[in-house]
């Protein structure tokens, strides 16, 4: 990414998430709460500093985007109203809105199905992983 692209993406993440990463005081309560912590390469308490420091490229290519369970534990407990879950969701949006950014392909679905899968799992996977 060029410097301009990085700046643009930082602004986009802030705008989509509606969060102010500068409010973060690095207390780590998000990471202390996250059920998916061990699955992530960039940890919840790092999301804010990645955005502040313009390390957007690393962030959007991080597997954390796909490991977040959207359980809102970090959002509920963040004492500074930074709400890291929203930041990572915005980074995911950024990826998915690019051409070819879909994380789930329609042709893969049949393989993933079993007879118990509830409809809402498919619906939500579509909404979470595709534009």
């Amino acid at each position: 990414m060029t410097k301009q692209e990085i700046e643009k993406n930082v602004e986009l993440i802030k705008e989509i998430s509606g969060c102010d990463p500068y409010k973060c005081m690095r207390c780590g309560k998000c990471s202390g709460s996250c059920p998916s912590f061990n699955e992530m390469d960039i940890k919840p308490h790092q999301f804010a500093s990645y955005i502040i420091n313009g390390n957007v490229e690393e962030l959007v290519s991080s597997k954390s985007l796909w490991k977040c369970l959207s359980c809102f534990a970090c959002i509920e407990r963040c004492p500074r109203n930074v709400e890291p879950g929203k930041l990572i969701d915005a980074a995911r949006q950024l990826v998915e809105r690019e051409r070819g950014g879909d994380h789930l392909q329609a042709e893969d679905i049949p393989e993933l199905l079993n007879e118990d899968v509830p409809q809402q799992l498919l619906v939500s996977a579509y909404r979470r992983y595709r534009r």
Binding site: E15, L69, I75, D89, Q120, L121, R127
Partner: protein, 263 residues
């Protein structure tokens, strides 16, 4: 009392029990669930992005329908409950989203979050009252040690959903008590089961559901109840040794009210 009812996709399909028993119980308790005609799927996930408008419209349609009927909007599925409540909050408090959504909708009168969205459990607690419910129980669930599994979607974020204390909820425990069962309080009752990722990534859900079953069984639960079809699926798929049966809360309700076999 009549409520607008939003069943959601899964209750018409894989989670028909959740729906069926709720209707039977509602009839026994003297209120009616009037299904919204031609409701559309809420999407199962609340779109967090502040610029997501189109993905919120199906919820707005349902909310506006309830408004036109002058009824509260009831849901059973925790995901629908989550999405509808949050979209409603946006329509009420987020001027930008509200204006843009209304521009799409072209309603006769703009929708501004007037409808009150309630989970079925909230109706039991706030409208019927657990004492009243208790008096209507004919087959109390005596001797049953039941763990409530809330999951995340029904509780968080607490300041928007205002369902119960997100860290220390008690509505389902009170519900179990009203049915004559013994609630088992265990700390993992509001921890995520990892459901959203289970389609592509079953590993986390296995890990999470094991923690949930270990904790609930450790504190002595013989069974779990849930309001979420997604959690139900995940918990059922668990390979944990400590696994106990999981029921929809409405099934126990119908059973206690003695209407389970009716139809």
């Amino acid at each position: 009392m009549k409520y607008s009812y939003y069943p959601g996709c899964t209750l018409k399909n894989k989670a028909q029990d959740l729906d069926r028993y709720a209707r039977l119980s509602a009839a026994a308790l003297g209120f009616e669930l009037e299904e919204i005609p031609e409701w559309q799927c809420c999407g199962g996930v609340y779109p967090l992005g502040t610029d997501e408008i189109a993905t919120k419209l199906s919820s707005v349609r349902a909310l506006n329908h309830a408004k036109e009927q002058g009824q509260d909007l009831i849901t059973l599925c925790t995901a629908c409950h989550h999405v509808l409540k949050r979209v409603n909050d946006d329509m009420k408090n987020n001027e930008d989203i509200s204006t843009r959504a209304n521009n799409y909708m072209q309603l006769d009168e703009p929708y501004k979050g007037e409808t009150s969205v309630k989970h079925f459990l909230e109706v039991l607690r706030d409208e019927i009252g657990f004492d009243e419910l208790k008096s209507k129980v004919v087959k109390p669930l005596e001797g049953k040690k039941i763990g409530a599994y809330y999951g995340c979607l029904v509780l968080r974020p607490g300041k928007i959903l205002e369902f119960d204390d997100p860290e220390n909820p008690k509505i389902m425990e009170d519900f179990i008590r009203a049915l004559g069962g013994e609630p088992v309080i265990y700390p993992y009752r509001n921890e995520c089961c990892g459901a959203y990722t289970s389609l592509k990534d079953g590993g986390i859900s296995q890990e999470r559901t094991k923690l949930i079953f270990d904790s609930s069984s450790g504190f002595g639960a013989d069974m779990l109840i849930t309001a979420c079809p997604l959690c139900m699926y995940n918990l059922n798929k668990s390979e944990a040794d400590s696994k106990v049966p999981v029921y929809y809360f409405t099934e126990l309700l119908a059973e206690a009210l003695g209407v389970k076999e009716g139809e």
